[in-house]
Amino acid sequence: MAKPHTPLLVTEEKLSIVGQSPVRKGVEDLAAGKAKFTGDFSFPDLLVGLILRSHFPHARIRGIDTAQAEKLPGVRAVVTHRDTPHVRIGRWISDRPVLAWDKVCYAGDPVAAVAAVDRETAEAALALIRVDYDELPAVFDVEEAMRPGAPIIHEALSTYKTEGRIFGQGNTLLRTELRVGEVEGAWDQCDVLHEDTYRTQVVHHGFIEPHEALAAPDASGKITLWCTTKAAFTIRSGVARALGLPMSRLRVIAPAVGGDYGGKGTVQMEPICVLLAMKAAQPVKISLTRQEELTATYMRQASVCRLKVGARNDGRLVALQGEIIYDTGAYCDLMGLSPGRLDLFLGPYKIPNVQFTAHRVYTNNTPRGHMRGPGGPQPCFAVESHLDMVARKLGISPVEFRLRNSLDEGDVMSRGTVVIAPGIKETLRRTGRFLAGAQKGPNQGWGVASLIWDGVNIKQITPSSAAVKINEDGTVVLITGAPEQGGGPHTILSQIVAEVLGVPYEAVSVFGSDTDATPFETSVGGSRTTYRVGNTVRLAAESAREQLFELAAEKLGVGPEGMTAREGRIHAGGQPEKSVSIVELAGYALKSRGSLIQATGRVRRREWYRYLAGEAAAHGPHGEVLDGSPQGTQAVKVEVDPQTGRVRVLEYFACHDVGRALHRGNVEGQIDGAVVLGLGYALSEEVRLKDGRTLVSGFTDYKMPTAADALQVKTDIVEFPSHYGPFGAKGIAEPASLPVAPAIANAIYDAVGVRLRELPLTPEKVLRALRERGSMSGTTPSP
C-alpha cells in the first residue's frame, strides 16, 4: 500500500465542536475540591516516607549505619542501596542511582530512606542514620568542569546505558555540532559583526503541587503506585528497572496532576517509595518538601552561550558561530540533542553559514532536566537578544530584520530542514502592524522576540495508543494513558472524539491514566499532545465510526459508502434522509455482535515515516521535514525606573501560529500562563546555589510572579494548519514561554539603552548596567 493512510491528513470539513471552547472536562470536580490528586489518597495504615540526603556535593560513601534508626519505635522500614540492585536510571542516559552506593554527586543526593508511623518519628529516624563520607574535590563552574584536570563526576560514564550516543570525555556528557556552509570564509561578506556572551540561571517549575507518591502493596506483593506524573508508563518502566521488578507487579495510576511544566515526566523518588512499601509491607507516602523540590528535582539548566553573528547591509544574515554550554548538574534527565534540534534553537531563520556547538556538562550542582521547552529558552534568550543588536547596528527594525531572514513555505532551515506551513512570517507581519500604532514614553521601550519549536519529524514519533468505547446508550468513553495535568488534554481529546463520531461533547468522558487499564501512552508534553495523542485518538474514533457505518448499513439496508456521522446520527451516503441514531446502533451492536463498539488507535509510525520521508525527499538532499512546528512572535512594552532599576511590564502582545486552535480558550490560557512563567524567568526567579548548596528554600526566596504581576496578554492567533496534525493543530504550551525573556531584555535596551546579558534581569543588574554605561559615557542615565 503505497498510498498513505488518509485519516491523518487534514480535510476541509465543517467542524462542530473542534474550534469551540467548551467547558473543560473535570472542571466541576476541581472547582468543588472533589478532584483527587496523589496527595488526596490515603490508607488507615499509611506510613510517612522521608529521604536522607547527602549534604556534601561530592563525597565517597564509606559506610551507612542504620541500626539505631531501625530500632526506633514506630519505624517500619529503613532502606539504603543495600536493598536495591545497583543499577542507574534516567530517561535518556541512566546516570542516577536510586540510593547512592559508592558516592554522592550533589548536595541532596539520596542515600537512605525511612518509613514510619508519622512524620515526627520518621524525622527522628533520619537523624539516627550515620553516613561516613570522604569528601571529594568538587566542581561547580560548568566551564571549569570542562577543563582537563577537573574532578570527574561520573568516572564510568562511557559504560552508562543510553538511548543515544554520548560524548563522554571528562565531564562532558554530550557534544553536538551543527555545521552548515563555511563560517570562516563568510565573515568577509558581512557588513556588520556582533559578538557577545549570554548567561541564564537555574529555575524550578514551581508547580504548587509538589512531587508526591503513594505506594500500596497488596498481600500478593503487587504494588499500586499513585504519583504526580504525566507519564505513568515511564514511571512503571523506570521503577521496574530500578528495583528489578516485573512490570506485572506494578500498577501506576496518574490521578489529577497539579501542574507539570515539564517537571513531572520522569522517575524521581517513586522507586524509593515503592521500596519502602515493599519492605514495610504497608502503604507509604512520600511528599517532597519545597526545599527538596528546589534541591533534588530536575530543574532547568543554567547556561553560557557565546555568539558571533554577521549580516549584510541589506539585512540578510550571513553567518552564525557560537556555542552553548549547559550545566546539567550531577545528573541529566534531558533527552538527546540532535543537530536538527540545535537548528531550531537558533530560531526560525535561514542562515547560510552556521557553526554552533552545544555541550552538556556534569558538575556537582543539583540535577537538571526538562522544563517547559527543554533546552530552548537558553539559546532563545541569547539568539533573540543578539539579533536585536545586529538589527540595531544595521538600522533595521527588529520586526523587519526578522522578516527578511525568516522561513517561508518551502524554505529550508540552515541544515536543510523543511518546515511545513511555517507561520512565522505571518506572526511577524501582525506584530509589525500592532507595533505601528505603539506608543512609548520616557524610560519606556518595546522589545520583540520570535521562536520556532519542535513539531514532529521522523524521529520524534513516540508511541501512543488509545481506545474508544461506545456505551449501549450511545455515550462514549475515551481510554487514554494521557493524564490531565492542567494543559487540557482530556478536553481537547474529547472534542476530537465528539467531532469524529458526531456525538455531543458532553457525551464523551475520559478515563486515564492507569498502566493496568489504559493503552500505552508515552506521556503528555513536548507541546505535541494535541498533535500526537490527538491523532491517535482521532484514529481510534474513526475506527469506531467505521463500525457504526457497518452497523448502520445493516440497519438501513444501504452500502456503507459515503456515510457521515453528525448530530448523533449516521446518515446514508447520497440519501441523507436515511439515517439511524447512534444510540440505536450502540444497543444494536451489543445484541448483534455480542460486544460494545470499541476500537483502538495508535501512532502509525511506518505510515508517518513514509509521509515525512516522501516529503523530505521532495525537498533535496538533507531530507528532514518538520510538521506541526509552532512559531510565534511576541512584543512587550516595559518601563525602567532609572533610580531603582525596576522593570515594569506595561503591555504584552503574543502572536502565535497554532496550526488550528482546537479549543481557543485553552490556547489563550496556555499563552497567558506561559508568558507569566516567562516573566518569572526573565525578571526574578533563580535557584541560587553556592558551592553546590541550594540557597533558596521556598516561595519566599524563590520569587515567582504573584497576582500583582497578572498581565492582560493581547493574543493574536494565526492558523496555518499542519499537514498531519488532527484538524491541522500544532502546539502552544512551551513555545509561548520561550521568547519572553529576550523580548523583555530587548525592551529594556529600547527603553534605556543598556544590554543585559544575564538572566534574571533583576533591578540590581539593571542599575549596575545603567551605572556602568553612565561612567563610560561620563554622564548619568537620563531620567
Binding site: 476541581l30 472547582a31 468543588a32 475540591g33 472533589k34 478532584a35 483527587k36 501542574g259 492542567g486 500562563g673
Partner: protein, 156 residues
C-alpha cells in the same frame, strides 16, 4: 498527648483526638478527610491551603488545631449548596480561571473572604486579596476576571 478538639466545619460538628501541634490543615485532610483543601508548601507561602475561619481567610498550614477549635470554619467543600456550585466556583469555570486546579481551592476561599468583606472590589483590590495565593498555570489574569465578574453580580 492527644487531646479532644471540637470543630465546626461547613456547618457540621466534628470531634477529633489529635496532638496539639497538628495544624488545621492536617486535621482537615487527615482526620476529617476533607481533602479539597490542598497542601502545597506547609510553610504559609503558597496559599493553596487557604480556608475561612470566622469570616477571615487563613492559611490552614499555619494555624494550629487548638487555635481553630470551636471556631466557624469553611472549606472549599462548603461552597456548593444543595448540589449547586457557588457563584464564585461557577465564575471560575466560566472564565477558565484554572488549569490544573491545584491552587483553586485556596484561590476560591481567598476570593470568597475578599468578596464577603468587599462585595464589589476593584482589580487592585483583588490583586491585593490574592497576593498570598500562587498560581503557576494561568498567569492570574483569568482568576482576576472571574473574581471581578463574581463581584459585579448582585449577590444574595
Amino acid at each position: 498527648m492527644k487531646m479532644p478538639l471540637q470543630f465546626r466545619v461547613n456547618g457540621e460538628d466534628y470531634e477529633v483526638y489529635v496532638e496539639p501541634w497538628k495544624t488545621l490543615l492536617e486535621v482537615l485532610r487527615d482526620e476529617l478527610e476533607l481533602t479539597g483543601t490542598k497542601a502545597g508548601c506547609l510553610a504559609g507561602e503558597c496559599g493553596t491551603c487557604t480556608v475561612i475561619v470566622d469570616g477571615k481567610a487563613v492559611k490552614s498550614c499555619l494555624m494550629l488545631a487548638p487555635q481553630a477549635a470551636g471556631r466557624e470554619i469553611m472549606t472549599v467543600e462548603g461552597l456548593a449548596q444543595g448540589g449547586k456550585l457557588h457563584p464564585l466556583q461557577q465564575a471560575f469555570i466560566d472564565h477558565f480561571a484554572f488549569q490544573c486546579g491545584f491552587c483553586t481551592p485556596g484561590m476560591l476561599m481567598s476570593s470568597k473572604a475578599l468578596l464577603d468583606e468587599n462585595p464589589h472590589p476593584t482589580a487592585d483590590d483583588v490583586k491585593e486579596g490574592l497576593y498570598g495565593n500562587f498560581c503557576r498555570c494561568t498567569g492570574y489574569v483569568k482568576i482576576l476576571e472571574a473574581v471581578l465578574a463574581a463581584g459585579a453580580k448582585p449577590r444574595g
